[in-house]
């Protein structure tokens, strides 16, 4: 399972490093305290669960095929996250670091572009917005 309501267990992810790995690249996407100039208090992540699971698995598998020898592990959080909490974690392990970096970067870029997950930012005044990356920020608040 790639989606989780519980905090992402980074130590558990790191335990999947193999004896043949020399380079490990871990990316964490973290809830920031601001976006597009507005303060954020928390973010709610919503997923089309079964499809998001399939897409995350497909992306991990695709990156592993594209960078042979790399192992990719992905976790994405759903539910309400506070500032500082990790919403996504990608672990890419490889014999050498260049592949680990490239695979990790490709995985997060693809996750952001195709996995059916949405986020609603909450502001100090109680208002909230669905984030719309295609509009360079947020959509009308809901």
């Amino acid at each position: 399972m790639h989606l989780t309501r519980d905090p992402i267990d980074v130590a558990a992810l790191l335990s999947s490093v193999r004896p043949s790995d020399g380079g490990v690249c871990l990316f964490l996407g973290v809830v920031r305290n601001e976006n597009a100039g507005r303060s954020t208090t928390r973010i709610e992540y919503e997923a089309y669960g079964p499809m998001a699971e399939d897409e995350l698995a497909r992306i991990a598998r695709g990156v592993e095929l594209e960078w042979p020898g790399v192992q990719v592990r992905v976790r994405h959080r759903v539910g309400s996250l506070e500032v500082g909490e990790a919403s996504v974690a990608i672990l890419a392990c490889a014999p050498h670091r260049a592949d680990a970096f490239a695979a990790c970067r490709a995985a997060i870029d693809r996750i952001k572009s195709t996995v059916p997950i949405w986020k609603k930012e909450f502001h100090p005044d109680g208002s909230s917005d669905w984030v719309d990356p295609t509009r360079g920020g947020v959509t009308g608040h809901s």
């Binding site: 089309y48 952001k112 996995v115 949405w118 986020k119 984030v131 719309d132 295609t134």
Partner: protein
């Protein structure tokens, strides 16, 4: 025939529902279903284009023909990560 529609994020907010079963004419395409939804709920239309759609949990083109029992979701701009 009947398809099962799912609504997420802004589309759920605009439609006021997260799922529904809906009758569509035999041979209807994904784009036809979208056009029908927009006629009912103009607030869904943001750009005039059919948004990315998934049928049975896979991305599919707007010209794809629907089949009885399909699970269909139109997807607002994704923002994972």
């Amino acid at each position: 025939m009947q398809v099962h529609l799912l609504y997420f994020a802004t589309f759920r907010d605009v439609s006021g529902r997260d799922r529904e079963d809906r009758q569509v004419p035999a041979g209807a395409r994904v784009a036809d279903l979208w056009d029908e939804l927009v006629r009912e709920m103009p607030g869904l239309a943001r750009t005039g284009l059919t948004p990315p759609a998934a049928v049975n949990r896979e991305y599919t083109g707007a010209e794809t023909r629907l089949r009885e029992g399909d699970e269909v979701a139109f997807l607002p701009p994704v923002a994972g990560g």
